[in-house]
Symmetry: C2
């Protein structure tokens, strides 16, 4: 069974039959899809209904909002049942910590992970993208250079511990904080997703880009040196030998090999050893 995770970079233009939602729907079963929307990251009560309407307009079978705002309501049998029946789960945007504070440690959270493992497509936009990883970006500052304490991390829902997703990436100038996060633990791949853009992660290893913007991959596995643990008082952080890929629509990235394949010349990128060791 292929697992599918689909973080989106926020600000998807919903009036234009956006590719990122169409792809989410396609992966979730198209006209047979049963989409369950979690609106809890948003403070706007109408946000869930907006996505329900959108998915229905795009031809997405059933779409339903799972609305509750109290931890004590999370584990109600009806909620568990809906998660078990879903073919797609979608987290709306807002504040990611609202989701972890509400769902963390509940039986519903365990059911969500179980749904993911059985092949239910799990996606989200903006805060709904951040929440997907084990250690997530909670908030932080913009800027293209990493600086000490430029971001706050926090535990997410943990569908993956291999990636860390950042969103509104180019629009809010977030390369610096993504580099900072990767330098702090170079085993985690940083994935910065532009607005109106998404990445499909299959089996926690195979990435494909959709939408109108770019996805920036920050691979720290070959870092030779960093002073991330020494820098103080918000000073710039040094990092040597980062590997960065900027990928657009239909580009593919293979996590194991660290190879990126551009859409226009698939599988023709030479295998260059970039390590300075």
């Amino acid at each position: 069974m292929t697992t599918i995770l689909m973080p989106m970079g926020g600000a998807v233009d919903e009036r234009r039959r956006p590719e990122v939602f169409l792809e989410f729907l396609r992966r979730a079963g198209g006209a047979q899809a049963r989409i369950l929307i979690f609106p809890q990251a948003s403070a706007r009560p109408e946000s869930g209904q907006e996505y329900t309407d959108l998915f229905r307009q795009l031809g997405g079978g059933e779409a339903q909002v799972l609305e509750f705002r109290q931890r004590a309501q999370a584990d109600e049998e009806e909620n568990i049942r809906l998660v078990r029946q879903a073919s797609g789960i979608f987290f709306a945007g807002g504040v990611q910590m609202r989701l972890s504070a509400l769902l963390g440690g509940t039986r519903l959270e365990a059911e969500l992970l179980q749904a993911y493992r059985r092949g239910c497509v799990v996606g989200g936009t903006s805060a709904g993208a951040s929440i997907l990883s084990k250690t997530m970006v909670a908030y932080g500052k913009g800027g293209s250079s990493p600086r000490e304490r430029i971001l706050q991390m926090s535990p997410g829902l943990g569908f993956t511990d291999r990636f860390l997703f950042d969103q509104h990436f180019r629009q809010k100038d977030r390369l610096g904080r993504l580099i900072y996060a990767v330098a702090s633990h170079p085993g985690i791949l940083g994935v910065g997703i532009d607005e109106d853009t998404a990445v499909v992660v299959e089996d926690d290893s195979h990435l494909t880009v959709y939408g109108s913007g770019a996805v920036t991959i920050v691979d720290g596995r070959h870092i030779t040196a960093t002073d991330v643990a020494e820098s103080e008082n918000g000073r710039p952080v040094a990092v040597a030998n980062l590997i960065v890929h900027v990928l657009t629509r239909k580009c593919v990235y293979e996590c194991e090999s660290g190879q990126a394949h551009l859409a226009s010349q698939p599988f023709e990128v030479a295998n260059v050893n970039v390590s300075q060791r």
Copy 2:
């Protein structure tokens, strides 16, 4: 095979045959132990040798320092071999992010996790305790009340994703930041460890306290409400229905049931339903 994790709260009084180290040694095989010390969190070059001397004085079989400070050196065959042969792995104190920045994503990190899974005792003191969890406390401020952004979390080495360990707990007044972390994801149990104190975690679920201080367990699974995602500008964070246990030497905590058993009256604590639901 029982897995054993042993975070220590720092500032262990090494002149007095400290119980926490004796217990670590006992679990690692006593006179047959093969202890491997990781000194990299510390900037003091002598810290590794100090622990080697200590473990030898306490009768701990072989004790050896694994010293290197460059990521490119992590995966040398000799290092892999030493980790594979170890019965106990010990992380010295200092700055925890030095360990994650150095080891994260290396083959050696994967070998450390493998060693833990095969039953090698994995422990550490101060920064060496923090680094053990998946999402770790990186740094933060003191104070008994949780406040917005009171701490910075970061990805650790990830021997467990169930606990978050904080250290120098009572001495540095860290209850506020531990509550903040737990409120941000109530599925994670906060474990605050005083100085000269340790907790043995068996099979990621059964905790026993050793040493002269206390271990504070912050269980957020029954939180009914929190504004952790709403609070701004360092203001206090509200949390309703936290469960807190303060445990001393030989007290036991069972993670699944959430029950604490005091050393003086084992298994006689009534099963009280503390949920307000």
